[in-house]
């Protein structure tokens, strides 16, 4: 066990080219400096990719699954796993490296990360490429690479059931890709429990490039904590805090879907390919409607008192779907963004997207872009393989999703993301190709929300809505993603203090809020340095023209539009606060030193 408490200090290294399996010790300093999850993942990626420009789909690019110091302890909502790799989806405006791309860190709830810790590992690093489709089985010390040829092409819902039959033990926790990942759709995701997704940045695509269909893990141990008694006290407080928090009640009742109607009412929803912030029919696919017509159960991730996941079944024309959702992101990106307000149709779309293993956010933005280009006559029906891709059409949406997952016809280009599509289609469509650094933006629209615009523009994995609206929020969230706890309860300020004291008790390193944020800042800066090395500069922290030109025409924020000069000023302020060069966005020497990153880079 590690000399740093709260960890095993052990990584599982698997090279799929040679089949070599190793257990490696994590340097003590990596644990104390980068904590776990997203931070530790960034450090491992940095160490493994010694130079910029490496093809993310080459065997060299590692795919890293990390846990945090909370994982496997009964900390409320400590359910998350972080998947870190070099993204196959992103690219800079210009760079000397043809394969330049950003880091990506995709976070998934459920049970996988904690189980990985029960098996005795703080993370898995997978490199190489298997000769044919394979999967990895981890049972405590025993690790095997097994043949997965018979699962080739299997969709995720069927696979979720099949793999447990194969393993004959329900206690295995599994993550896997669907057809989209196998087919190298650039924004393929990794699925867990047939509905939870490590969605963003193409982590499923990288998994597919390694011929890796799945990982199954089960285990029986736990690491130690530094201060047992202090941990128990902090844990009790954490439980009570969440149990008594009004936001816990809200999450239980509505999940993220509660925001579908609220956000529309506020004018902050992604509607009609980011053209509007309000969708008058949002109520048809909102939480109230779902509670009435679809949801039958509230589902929680490990040790989570929020239970924000909702599952149920649909009736009507597209009925018979048994799945979870709509959530805010899936409901908006595949619903309001496409002007779809048929609940059962929406659920069917969400089910298919998960079943094929595609990121719901990116694919929603891709389809929104195509609908708009089609409406404007920039592409015709022939370009779309005969699909009449009109706003609001569930059938057309379902068809195009299939095309994308199998990279068939128009799906070939569409599988590369909205940036690649707009470069090909041209005709000024770049203006409404909604991405930052190649990553499609999410369900929060920004004409009337400048801080969220900054959030998207400055996220290290490209257009990410969870990045945080200012430097401090970003540092905080980078740290949350590093501990293994879920962001949702941590959005409640009252949970901050228990989180920090549990971290102190587990690791034996005394954190106060400032130190906690400092550690997050270190993580954020290391990611930034990775991107900078790849050639990402200030011009890459910029938004599509739509947000500066197309003012909302409806809703409470009617007339809202971003102002280029003001947004530039906001960014200047942000870089100054970060200690980065305002011209290039390069982190300053003094900042690098202050964060203890000088030795590493």
């Amino acid at each position: 066990m590690s000399s740093v408490k709260g960890y095993f200090g052990k990584l599982l290294y698997i090279d799929l080219s040679s089949g070599k399996i190793e257990k490696r010790t994590i340097p003590e300093e990596d644990l104390t400096k980068f904590i776990g999850g997203r931070g530790l993942g960034a450090k491992i990626l940095w160490d493994n990719l010694k130079k910029p420009g490496i093809d993310p789909l080459s065997p060299e690019n590692p795919i890293i699954f990390t846990t945090g110091p909370f994982s496997g302890f009964p900390v409320p909502s400590a359910s998350r796993t972080c998947v870190v790799t070099k993204s196959p989806l992103t690219s800079p405006v210009r760079s000397t490296y043809p394969h330049a791309s950003t880091i990506t860190y995709s976070n998934i709830g459920g049970f996988f990360g904690p189980e990985l810790r029960f098996a005795g590992y703080d993370g898995i690093v997978i490199t190489g490429k298997a000769n044919s489709l394979c999967y990895i089985v981890i049972d405590d010390e025993r690790v095997e690479i097994r043949d997965a040829k018979k699962f080739k092409g299997m969709r995720t819902d069927a696979f979720d059931k099949k793999i447990l039959e194969e393993l004959k033990d329900r206690r295995y926790k599994t993550v896997y890709i669907g057809p989209a990942g196998e087919n190298l759709v650039r924004y393929a995701c990794i699925i867990h429990t047939s509905a939870r997704a490590a969605g963003r940045g193409g982590v499923g695509c990288v998994m597919g490039s390694k011929n890796l269909k799945a990982i199954a893990v089960k285990g029986s141990s736990q690491p130690n904590v530094a201060n047992h008694k202090k941990f128990l006290t902090a844990l009790e407080k954490a439980r009570l805090t969440l149990q008594n928090s009004p936001s816990t009640k809200y999450w239980r009742n509505y999940g993220t879907a509660g925001y579908i109607v609220k956000s529309s009412d506020q004018g902050t929803e992604t509607v009609r390919n980011f053209r509007e912030g309000t969708f008058p029919e949002a109520y048809k696919i909102g939480a109230e409607a779902a509670r009435r017509d679809v949801w039958v159960r509230d589902i929680a991730c490990l040790y989570c008192p929020l239970a924000c996941k909702k599952s149920g079944r649909t009736k009507g024309k597209y009925g018979g779907i048994v799945h979870d959702g709509p959530e805010y992101e899936t409901g908006v990106m595949l619903g309001t963004n496409l002007l779809i307000s048929d609940m059962a149709g929406l659920l069917k779309i969400i089910y298919n997207v998960d079943d094929l293993g595609i990121d719901a956010i990116s694919v929603g933005a891709v389809i929104g872009y195509l609908m708009e280009a089609y409406e404007k006559g920039m592409i015709n029906k022939k370009f779309l393989d005969g699909i009449d891709l009109k706003w609001g059409s569930v059938d057309a949406t379902l068809k195009i999703i299939d095309k994308i997952a199998y990279r068939d016809g128009v799906g070939e280009l569409a599988s590369k993301g909205v940036k690649a599509l707009s470069q090909k289609i041209g005709q000024g469509s770049e203006k409404f190709a909604i991405h930052v650094k190649g990553t499609e933006l999410a369900a929060h629209n920004i004409q009337g929300n400048p801080p969220r615009a900054l959030c998207y523009a400055t996220a290290n994995r490209g257009g990410c809505h969870l990045n945080g609206d200012n430097a401090q929020a970003q540092n905080f969230r980078a740290m949350i993603d590093s501990t293994g706890v879920c962001l949702f309860p941590a959005m409640d300020n009252s949970y901050e203090e228990p989180i920090i004291s549990m971290l102190s008790a587990i690791t034996g390193i005394e954190y106060d809020r400032a130190q906690f944020l400092k550690a997050g800042e270190r993580v954020f800066n290391l990611e930034k340095l990775f991107n900078y090395r790849e050639g990402f500069r200030r011009e890459d922290d910029w938004l599509p023209d739509r947000f500066f030109e197309d003012a909302f025409t409806i809703g409470p924020k009617k007339g809202a539009v971003l102002d280029r000069a003001k947004f530039r000023d906001m960014l200047n302020q942000y870089y100054k606060e970060r200690g980065w060069d305002t011209e290039t966005t390069k982190p300053s020497e003094s900042k690098i030193k202050e964060l203890g990153l000088a030795k590493i880079i």
Binding site: F73, P74, P76, F118, D157, D160, K161, K162, L164, E165, K168, D169, R170, T193, S194, S220, S221, Q222, V225, H228, K229, F231, L232, R239, L242, Q243, V296, R297, D298, I299, A300, C301, L302, Y303, C304, P305, A307, K309, S311, G312, R313, V322, H323, D324
Partner: protein, 229 residues
């Protein structure tokens, strides 16, 4: 907490009046026919499946309470490794979660199945009903690791007995935490209650798979349950 709100005096008063108590509380309405107070009553942890979210907090708190650690001479709760929990949450696809815990069967098929001779003094086999807690406990020093108890429980009732893969002997079974069930206390969704054993209760003594199959039919209209075996 739950039934514990009723004091022993209320209990006797009601019993004395020969009443059947209707308990309307968070887990619905249950009629509780009180057992003869001279005989010790059997109690069990009852699950309200419609409230269970599959969060597994019950596993962690059960393990923590029943596997305490001694630090600087002080007995403290353990860290809650779920492997050592006496309640086990079984999850299925589509989303159905079934916490499984000993149903304290009055006829105890597990005990009946144990081939070990009863100890002359105590009358206990290697698996037996503990006099004090009225729960099923094991004497691993006498256990021959035949697995008969686990098999009987799995075939006839809940299948809650897990055999330790190293020793082949049963892992500890629910002891109701000495009267203050931690799982009931800490379930964030109030899905668990301590109740009197009633063998005619719906889902009584059934395996998680059977229960899940019925729930999936009821909630989702599907009978094809994944994640089994």
């Amino acid at each position: 907490m739950k039934e514990n709100n009723f004091t022993r005096r209320d209990f006797l008063k009601l019993y004395g009046a020969g009443a059947t108590l209707l308990l309307a509380n968070k887990f619905g309405i249950h009629s509780i026919a009180w057992a003869d107070p001279k005989k010790k009553s059997l109690k069990m942890v009852l699950v309200d499946y419609s409230k269970c979210t599959g969060c597994r907090t019950c596993e962690a708190v059960c393990s923590a309470y029943n596997n305490p650690v001694k630090i600087n001479g002080e007995n403290l709760l353990g860290l809650g490794n779920p492997v050592y929990s006496r309640i086990r949450v079984h999850s299925f696809n589509p989303d159905v979660d079934v916490p499984n815990v000993c149903n304290m069967c009055p006829d105890a098929p597990c005990v009946k199945a144990c081939p070990v001779e009863p100890e002359p003094k105590t009358g206990r086999k290697a698996i037996y009903r503990d006099e004090k807690t009225q729960t099923i406990q094991t004497d691993l020093s006498r256990c021959i690791a035949c697995g008969s108890c686990a098999k009987a429980c799995a075939e006839q009732r809940t299948g809650v007995i897990e055999l330790d893969p190293k020793t082949g002997k049963p892992r500890p079974i629910c002891n109701l935490c000495g009267g203050d069930p931690q799982c009931v206390k800490h379930c964030p969704f109030n899905a668990l209650s301590l109740v009197e054993v009633k063998t005619n209760r719906k889902f009584y003594g059934q395996s998680p798979k059977k229960i899940a199959t019925e729930l999936a039919k009821k909630w989702y209209g599907v009978s094809d349950l994944g994640g089994l075996k």
